[in-house]
Symmetry: C2
Subunit: 201 residues, 2 copies
Amino acid sequence: MKPGLLVVVSGPAGVGKGCIVRKAMETMNCIVLSISATSRPPRPNEIEGVNYFFKTREQFEEMINNNKLIEWVEYCGNYYGTPKDFVLSEIEKGNVVILEIEVEGALNVRKMFPDCVLCFIIPPDFQELENRLRGRATENEEAIQRRLKRAKEEFSLIEKYDYVILNDTLEKAVSRFTSIVEAERMKTRRNNEIIEKFKNI
Amino acid sequence: MKPGLLVVVSGPAGVGKGCIVRKAMETMNCIVLSISATSRPPRPNEIEGVNYFFKTREQFEEMINNNKLIEWVEYCGNYYGTPKDFVLSEIEKGNVVILEIEVEGALNVRKMFPDCVLCFIIPPDFQELENRLRGRATENEEAIQRRLKRAKEEFSLIEKYDYVILNDTLEKAVSRFTSIVEAERMKTRRNNEIIEKFKNI
């Protein structure tokens, strides 16, 4: 009774997506993180197969043409995308694959995998989000303003998601996220095998 | 972000529905149990408004005619049903109302409240269910056989439910049940208020 699952996690920059997913992985060992492919060159410290699968533009375009990607975008002259084989083989094993991607990508994944689960993480309020972005102190004012504008655009599409997860404290948000994963795995439509067993008693 | 909810819990006799719901009520204080109305006379120790709302046949028929029941059945010459007002007012308060009813009743509730959540509890296997029924030692062989036959009939309708919850250990089953309640409360379609807030930032 442990069906595999594809879970998409979105939310504005600074909302804590990465923290929630990493903590959830510590409590549920069925959770695996999807690794993106990119044509961007590796930065120092970035490791092939851990941070990204690094590809040349030609290799990436071949993946697009051969339908090897669940979704992809071109951003600042580089390709980014989600390799399909990894996701499918992990679902097949009964694992829960997490995709951390932005809203447009999420909606494209839903088209390709109608059975995926879309989660949107929200901050307690907008001011809190701004505080968190400023707290990072890694970006200039212009970049922060750009991210806040982008957050507003993303909020306009929350309704397209299945679940909305409040991140007021990390602990609660992780518990909310794992509850969704647990619940989705108990959906009758994902458990045909066990249902058939009981129907044929 | 705590929307009210109607959750229907079904499953064969002996599967542990009552235990799971009672334990869940201890961990989530938003959970309330719906109290049925019946035209059956009270047994010794049964308390009005705790075990049942006791009604005369005439009073019960008036409730039926005035559309005051979510669902009702006549069984062994007595009426049993779920009063609508209590359920609606608790949902309005943001509480999670649990209905512990059998399969046909559950499917009738779904017709009246399409937004309700249907959970079906299953035992680890059929033998285990039989053991539990015999372990109760409160019923004769004929009654046990009747319950097992009934269980098989109920299993044939599991697919109509949203979730299937395995009761292998009480603790795990309670955690599964509360995960479903938590997850359902995070569904975007139940959180229009907070979504509107973020859309209008």
